[in-house]
Assembly symmetry: D2
Homo-oligomer: 199 residues x 4
């Protein structure tokens, strides 16, 4: 189980580093825009594993009382110029996230992009970029010096493709949910009351 343990260590120390390196100005703006969206619709978009992290976040925004949707699911209402799109894409290039965000901009909606590649097509059209470190399927966004290097050499991380980004993103967004709970004065019981009762 050598590799499992090393990979867990890599993921957890990597996430710790990514959280510590967050630009808290970006995160504060992210929080403010979400808090300002109580009367608006929030649409989350992401493809593949970034999409699953996005859905997990969307579900918690629902628990918090927001009017939130995941793009591409059955119930996706009209987005208008008052609304908010949150796109999650490690590489900042995922096509569906890009065309959806681009359409959102045309409509006049605000676009927040959570990514490891601020200099990317998605970053270029964002109203707000929230940068989160972590190797994506394109490799590392910048120089990093990781446990993996020593263990492997030829490969940059133990975790394949975008796994590091996706875990970092999950930790970031779940921690953001706790911050939002406290800013909104919500208790766990209040979140639970809005949680699915049929599953």
């Amino acid at each position: 189980m050598k590799w499992l343990k090393a990979a867990a260590e890599e993921i957890l120390s990597g996430a710790k580093k990514a959280i510590s390196e967050l630009d808290m100005n970006q995160v504060e703006k992210f929080i403010q825009i979400i808090l300002d969206s109580k009367e608006r619709k929030i649409f989350v978009v992401g493809v593949g594993r970034s999409g699953f992290v996005g859905r997990a976040f969307a579900l918690r925004l629902m628990n918090l009382g927001f009017n939130v949707y995941f793009l591409g699911e059955t119930i996706t209402p009209a987005a208008g110029k008052e609304d908010l799109i949150i796109a999650i894409s490690g590489s900042g290039t995922t096509k569906f996230a890009l065309t959806a965000s681009s359409t959102a901009k045309e409509i006049g909606a605000k676009v927040i992009v959570v990514t490891s590649y601020p200099q990317s097509p998605l970053g270029d059209l964002a109203d707000l970029i929230v940068s989160i470190g972590g190797r994506t399927k394109l490799g590392w966004p910048k120089e990093e010096n990781y446990l993996a290097r020593q263990l492997l050499g030829e490969r940059e991380t133990l975790s394949p493709l975008g796994s590091i980004f996706e875990n970092n993103c999950m930790v970031l967004l779940d921690s953001l949910v706790v911050e939002l709970m406290h800013r909104l004065g919500k208790t766990e019981e209040e979140l639970r009351k809005l949680h699915a009762t049929i599953e």
Copy 2:
């Protein structure tokens, strides 16, 4: 293209027959319960192809302004005793539809079942059954006499498994949407305004 043409003829004449044989008292009650749900949540549930027909219906209920969800998708809020579950199952036995409806009943929500098998586990717990003829994956619910018999003999319909039920159901629910539009005084433009703008 003999079989394509014969199958289309079978589907369309079958759907015509199924619509003409509807119990309009059931349908009227179905409409009234939906119209009474303007302030409540509507949850649609179905598995496989019945689920796709259910999602198509849920999307139109959204276009009509209802607060509607498809069970199992990301954004599925808490169901309460005031709410409505619409289960679609040709055979009336599909497990997920059954456990979801059963939980809904425990919560005190109302359950409407659209099925070809009123005498089924789902039928047994329904507050309202909407029967729609059509062969399901269990075969025909009752004696029927169809074009398919003459063409095939050994098989009961040209269309395999639940295809007949699913087509009949699609026509029923899409026609119901038109009836709802008129009862609500809604125009196509009003539906369009609530339609997804990002896709």
Copy 3:
């Protein structure tokens, strides 16, 4: 229930007309390409209600033994130059269907488009267009003369947005499945054996 009955009549007579007006050369080519895909992957793509019709078709292709996927779901493997994309879009303009088909073309895969608008961005990049009449959310593709005109005047059909296209498409694709069954010599029992046992 005047509107429900009139809408059902409109949908069914419209679908009958659409099937009778199919270009059977297109349909024959569609069938041949699918039959030639036994060793390849087939990807179905569609958004919203067209997507639900596409999923219903994909599920039957699975029942027939094809190696088929619905784009955007969890298990979507790599598409290669040998593979086939089937895009369903009434208007021929749906963005996600368009970018997915465009990527497929770059990869070298074959693209079949099922649409009411052959002269559209999706039509332009298709290797094969399968035209199916029926009003989409853009209105009618060409002059049509329907029951709806006499009943409504101001609106072109009773059925809102793309409902007519989606129903026509469902009947076409389900009839095609029957044609494929016979060409492949498959029985309903063989389809049933490949059908989900956990639902």
Copy 4:
């Protein structure tokens, strides 16, 4: 940003603890069963956020070359007695995961349950339980002593509902993927070749 930081710290230290407390005999059996499933089908099931973690894992199993499906999505083939179900449920009680696993057992398939509650309905029917610590929506499975206690007192964790379980599960399963890569001798490039090319 006090709460965000404290929550991230809680999630990461909690995951570290959960990984260190894994029963490696259980994990080794889990790995062996997956490695023995090269010729079989693997079905992953989970509801809500556990389901998103399950989908992320299923996607990586696909990258590794397994024949894997997520229950409830369009392409879900027949499960047989040779096949494997992996159910993810923090509380071990989620209804859809339970009825699906129960049907799987009737069919004769093997069921692995990843949970914080080994003594639960899902645990009771499992062929193999993989226990992973972490508070679920039912609260903590056993006595735990966390940062959250000092910070909050009245609430047991900063992270609401099942967030701790879901993060722990994500780290476990993503680390397991790395272990599987090495046991199978797969490189990241080989995983990439099986990754979706249209997204």
